[in-house]
């Protein structure tokens, strides 16, 4: 590919600049050109931010990318590369992360002069797909490889026979997920492969992000934007974010930092130094800069004799400036269990007070392990990283690339098991610790209304405990909250928007809420908000759990709201009280006619809670109700529900 010389006519530069640039460009190696491209992208952002230092100091974080990006779609075209054209950003978001990233991407694209349109997948007319020139997809994956609710229709279309050939399309996919799930970034991967199959060309390989998506997402954005602006750049260059070791190929780039959107995903923790920066509109407190909130109350909502423990945690947010809407969640960055940390330190023969490097700071080892690294989950990349310290089985397992064996091993085991089982010791803490996954936060739906109590946030946290491999195991955050956080203590929190789980804008709109177990959490906020605002819409809650007597979370709140008339109806199912298990979907079936009537009146239908069993069962029941009560065919019932989703009247927050 020949590089056309810059001229005053084909560039924004004056004659002097053209001369200087041509002089320089002629001497560049491919690698230098790539580096420079990245530099200039970052330079331009700094210019826009108006913060460039005199003399044009380089942004601190720009480093050369490791390897080549995708073939230029416009290769072969002569002259000023004509691959331009408008850019379409499509996102599929469940918890709001993908939506937020898509908006940031669009902003940055505009800033570099691209014409860009952003759509939620559910709002995108699939008939337009074949007309697109450049497509950037930001999509998350949930549970066992599920696309977000609002991505389903687009996803199904893409995999249907109706999907058009897309030979003239250039694209790239940013996939969000949680590496602890088997089907990590499955939705993004599938979309990426399918677009290729349909003839589209990659602008850049797919980037798979773990829960700590900030840095890899930034890297991916910089690179695709560089690619898209290649019409203005003389060579194909890329900007790569800092700190990520892994390379990327056509199969995609896996980022193994901490963070996420797969499952009850949460994020990050480290107070890392100024990473590639997002918009200034970001909240003051976020994953990497959590707010230290005082715990006002912390007690078990389950009555005596229950086999469950659900913590009611009330946090004081006064002075944080954190605002939240009903449906939003709050992330908690937990601390590891001290005994696990101590056992690991002793198993490795380390000293608790030896210094280790965390970001820019030296911390005492014990402190670093307590606060900053995840110890309770094993991921495949982590096992690969640590295999080099192993003197036996682990190295073999990794060398064999035996994914199944690694997955099976990882189930229910932690870092302590790994070092014990594979005889890892004698490794310096400074060698070992940086390879650990950063401590992810855990997101919990806020159970209270900001409008009603702006200085407080109530959380509903189910303590997870189980036995595996001869040891008692636990959910790191839930048991941290259940056992070690006392009123008066402080916990690290950050707000997390959930734009796909929102009260109806119309205060008169009826709503049906299905929230068994901790799934009831956001609905307490919904009702508190509606009570506070005097919203007059009818409200109907379906709640379920194991036992009426001990497990009826927030029972007195629901009863109070029922008495006051705010809660128009409430139906409950307790699975362990009867010989035949009864769940919320069974109660829905008993109320089929009324549910359908409410929907016909314009009711919003919300589901929150368990993703694996409950949400599909509730969906199937809803579909059956619509089919039966509306006299519809199966396909028509699906359309009915899809239409509900398009109107944002069927919203889910499942995990």
């Amino acid at each position: 590919m020949s590089t056309p010389l810059l001229k005053v006519e084909n560039s924004p530069f004056n004659a002097e600049q053209v001369a200087l640039l041509n002089q320089l460009l002629g001497t560049l190696s491919a690698e230098q050109a790539q580096w420079l491209s990245g530099y200039l992208t970052a330079f331009q952002r700094v210019l826009q931010a108006g913060a460039v230092a005199p003399g044009g100091a380089a942004p601190a974080v720009v480093v050369p990318s490791v390897s080549a990006v995708q073939e230029d779609a416009g290769s072969g075209a002569g002259g000023a590369v004509g691959g331009g054209g408008p850019v379409t950003v499509l996102y599929g978001s469940q918890t709001g992360n993908a939506a937020r990233l898509a908006q940031q991407l669009a902003k940055r694209a505009k800033a570099v002069g691209l014409s860009v349109a952003v759509h939620c997948m559910s709002e995108f007319k699939t008939s337009q797909l074949k007309k697109l020139a450049n497509l950037l997809v930001v999509v998350s994956t949930h549970g066992e490889g599920e696309p977000p609710d609002k991505a389903k229709e687009f996803y199904d279309f893409l995999f249907s026979k109706r999907a058009p050939r897309l030979e003239s399309l250039r694209y790239s996919v940013l996939a969000l997920g949680d590496i602890t799930y088997k089907q990590f970034c499955h939705t993004g991967r599938q979309i990426d492969l399918r677009l290729e199959e349909l003839g589209a060309k990659r602008l850049r390989g797919r980037m798979d992000c773990d829960v700590d998506y900030r840095e890899p997402a930034d890297q991916w954005m910089a690179e695709v934007l560089a690619e898209l602006t290649a019409t203005k750049a003389p060579a194909k260059l890329a900007l790569v974010g800092a700190g990520q070791a892994a390379g990327h190929g056509a199969a995609g780039h896996v980022c193994t930092g901490a963070c996420g959107s797969q499952g009850q995903a949460g994020l990050v923790s480290l107070s890392l130094p100024a990473a590639p920066v997002f918009d200034a509109e970001e909240p003051v407190y976020d994953r990497s800069r959590p707010f230290s909130a005082e715990v006002i109350e912390n007690y078990n909502l389950n009555g005596r004799g229950s086999d469950k423990e659900t913590r009611y945690v009330k946090l004081l947010l006064e002075g944080s400036g954190i605002r939240f809407a009903p449906g939003d969640s709050l992330g908690i960055v937990p601390e590891n269990h001290p005994s696990l940390v101590d056992d690991l330190i002793s198993a490795m023969g380390w000293r608790p007070d030896e210094p280790v490097r965390v970001g820019k700071h030296d911390l005492e080892l014990r402190e670093a392990l307590l606060q900053h690294y995840e110890l309770t989950q094993l991921t495949r990349p982590l096992m690969e990283q640590l295999s080099e310290f192993s003197t036996d089985g682990l190295a073999d397992m990794v060398a064999r690339g035996d994914a199944e064996a690694m997955e099976n091993y990882a189930k229910g085991r932690d870092v302590l098991d790994l070092v014990r089982d594979f005889g890892i010791r004698g490794v310096a803490a400074n060698q070992f610790v940086p390879r650990l996954r950063k401590m992810p936060g855990r997101l919990y739906s806020i159970s209270s209304s900001y409008a009603a109590n702006p200085d407080e946030a109530d959380l509903t946290i189910a303590a997870v405990r189980y036995q595996a491999h001869g040891r008692a195991r636990y959910g790191v955050c839930s048991v941290y909250c259940a056992e070690r956080v006392k009123p008066g203590d402080r916990v690290r929190v950050y707000p997390n928007e959930n734009p796909n789980f929102r009260l109806p804008a119309d205060p008169d709109a009826p709503m049906i809420m299905v929230g068994p177990g901790t799934g009831a959490a956001p609905f307490r906020a919904f009702l508190e908000e509606r009570e506070e605002l005097g919203a007059t819409g009818k409200n109907w809650l379906f709640f379920g759990d194991r036992r009426f007597r001990t497990d009826f979370l927030y029972q007195t709140d629901w009863l109070r709201w029922r008495s006051s008339g705010l809660l128009t109806r409430i139906d409950v199912a307790f699975s362990r009280d009867t010989s035949q298990k009864v769940y919320v979907q069974h109660r829905m079936a008993e109320r089929a006619r009324e549910i359908y009537d409410w929907l016909q009146e314009g009711a919003y239908f919300y589901v929150c809670g368990d993703q694996k069993a409950m949400a599909p069962d509730v969906h199937a029941q809803l579909r059956a109700i619509v089919q039966q009560q509306g006299g519809l065919s199966g396909a028509a019932a699906d359309d009915y529900l899809a239409e509900l989703q398009r109107q944002n009247r069927y919203q889910r927050d499942v995990y």
């Binding site: 007690y299 389950n302 009555g303 009426f548 007597r549 009826f552 029972q555 007195t556 009863l559 409950v572």
Partner: protein, 572 residues
């Protein structure tokens, strides 16, 4: 005809319960709907008021109340279900059915009440209809076991006078039947469990709003006043001559309940009005009930018992009103004498070759614990016996009319389970009673049944130290002033005021004809023992031969005698 126009208070003065009864359509209210509500295991107060007429009411585990409130869980609601047993008589199959229901729904516990009824506790709402249906299937009923109606009728279950007992019991039982509410609501809610359209209800005796307050009837067979005939709204004293029942003395206007701090409320002993023949019993009872129906105070539930109606208007008025309604006067009262109040334990032989075994049950509580599986023990006895079982007014059990060939087996069971036939334990413990109170009773202010065993152990020691180890003193303890075990007729009465604190009353007589008087107010248990100890020692030193503790404290001037309930609150 009535000499006076019965009062007709304006509606706005009527108590809330009166309005609720009036609107209830003969005790239906919204009970069916409330029972079907899955969101709460309780029921609204308005339905609870009506449920009482059906023999049940709402309770919660008081031990957990605060803890659960904090946990945003409603109180641990459950229901008490009371089973009528007129005169305390059931047959073995019914006993077995109740035992089975107690195991299935009632937390393995069956209680024998101080009114000769059974109580199941801890019934959860979802099983209440099954429980009551099960009781009905055993040909027993819960209707009117509580509520503003005539409750379970009491009758001395005395096995020593078999013939007189049989006659009295039959009359009493028929009277109880006669005064049972007729509403079909009971059948609808508990048996059919659905609304029945177009039912026509009539309450020929009670009318649509029933009585102003609870109404209690008991019949005593002298010389035993086990039913505390003077504590009843309406009492009958059987007059037996040569083993034959010749009629009853009528006693009216007794009652135990009062409210702390409200001197206008007080316990009262009934007044003997006169005598009538046995066949007049039902008519007398009905007319007394209708007088109370018409004249009882429906504006203030704390002033609504028959005792206040009579005290306000005078006994003479009542006698005339009764005579007017009956169309005839009572005969002059016949002489009678009470010499005992407690049960005679152990075996007694009847003239018909059958024998009776009276067994002590502490606080009337039958449940299975690893050390004492009492529920199982009595279940086995009922099975082996196959005949009649009687509850005594002191919460004990009489295995009645045992055939000679079954006696050995029953003896073996009683001995295997170490049941108390009066040969073990102390007299004071066997004479004494405590109510249910914490954790279940909604009215409880202080412990009773749970603290009673310890109280007794300390009192036994104190008596033994004074050389009175076998002295039978009647001690009665309640957790609140409503008086379920009739504490104001005890020689030593303890009435709960707050956790760990009681009013101490002294000076009731041994046979239950005299009220006691307040001796220490709001005392903790240490103060109670500290004040009792010198009196007991003094009693041991100064008592006359055969003198009982309650009489001694009067003679010694420790408290002044109470001659009428209206004198109850005056200082000692």
């Amino acid at each position: 005809m009535s000499r006076y126009e019965p009062p007709q208070p304006p509606p706005e003065k009527l108590s809330e319960v009166e309005h609720n009864k009036a609107a209830s359509r003969f005790l239906r209210g919204t009970l069916l709907e409330s029972l079907a509500d899955r969101v709460t295991s309780g029921i609204p107060e308005r339905d609870n008021q009506l449920l009482k007429f059906h023999g049940s009411y709402l309770q919660d585990d008081r031990d957990l109340r605060n803890e659960r409130a904090k946990q945003k869980l409603e109180p641990a609601w459950s229901f008490m279900v009371r089973v009528r047993a007129p005169g305390g008589v059931v047959v073995a199959d019914q006993w077995l059915a109740l035992t089975d229901l107690a195991r299935r729904y009632g937390g393995n516990s069956l209680r024998l009440t101080s009114r000769q009824a059974f109580e199941l506790h801890g019934i959860i709402k979802w099983q209440l209809q099954d429980t009551i249906a099960g009781i009905n299937a055993a040909l027993l009923s819960t209707i009117a076991a509580c509520g503003d109606v005539n409750r379970n009728v009491m009758c001395t279950p005395n096995p020593h006078q078999s013939k007189a007992h049989a006659q009295v019991w039959q009359w009493v039982q028929r009277m109880g039947e006669h005064l049972t509410p007729r509403t079909r609501a009971y059948h609808e809610i508990w048996v059919e469990r659905r609304k029945v359209v177009d039912t026509r209800d009539e309450e020929p005796i009670y009318g649509p709003t029933y009585l102003p307050r609870k109404f209690k009837i008991g019949a005593a067979i002298p010389p035993c006043n086990d039913v505390d005939v003077f504590s009843q709204d309406l009492g009958f004293i059987a007059i037996v001559e040569k083993g034959e029942l010749i009629g009853f003395n009528v006693v009216v206007g007794g009652g135990m309940g009062m409210t702390h701090g409200e001197p206008a409320t007080y316990p009262q002993v009934g007044t003997v009005l006169g005598f009538h023949a046995p066949e007049e019993l039902i008519d007398v009872a009905e007319k007394v009930v209708t007088i109370q129906r018409d004249y009882g105070d429906r504006t203030n539930r704390k002033h609504a018992r028959l005792k206040y109606t009579i005290d306000d208007r005078g006994v003479d008025w009542f006698i005339e009103e009764l005579a007017a309604r009956r169309g005839r006067a009572l005969q002059p009262a016949r002489p009678f004498e009470f010499t005992e109040r407690g049960d005679r334990f152990g075996w007694t032989d009847g003239p018909d070759g059958r024998s009776h075994l009276t067994l002590y049950v502490e606080c009337g509580r039958l449940r299975d614990t690893p050390e004492r599986p009492l529920l199982t023990a009595f279940e086995e006895i009922a099975r082996a016996h196959g005949g009649e079982m009687r509850l005594t007014p002191s919460q004990n059990v009489i295995v009645a009319g045992v055939a000679p060939e079954r006696r050995a087996e029953i003896e073996r069971i009683a001995s295997r389970y170490a049941l108390d036939d009066g040969s073990g334990g102390s007299a004071v413990r066997r004479e004494s009673m405590a109510c249910v109170s914490f954790p279940l009773c909604p009215l409880a202010m202080a412990e009773a049944e749970r603290y009673f065993p310890d109280l007794m152990t300390r009192l036994e020691r104190m008596l033994a130290d004074a050389g009175l180890a076998s002295e039978p003193i009647v001690v009665r303890m309640t957790g609140c002033p409503n008086g379920c075990v009739r504490p104001y007729l005890a020689e030593i009465g303890l009435v709960g005021k707050a956790l760990g604190r009681y009013n101490l009353y002294l000076g009731g007589d041994r046979v239950g004809t005299r009220l006691n008087r307040l001796f220490r107010e709001n005392a903790d248990t240490e103060e109670i023992f500290a004040s009792l100890e010198p009196i007991i020692r003094q009693f041991a030193a100064e008592r006359k031969s055969g003198e009982h503790f309650g009489d001694y404290v009067i003679r010694a001037g420790i408290v002044a005698p109470v001659t009428s309930g209206r004198d109850f609150h005056s200082p000692r």
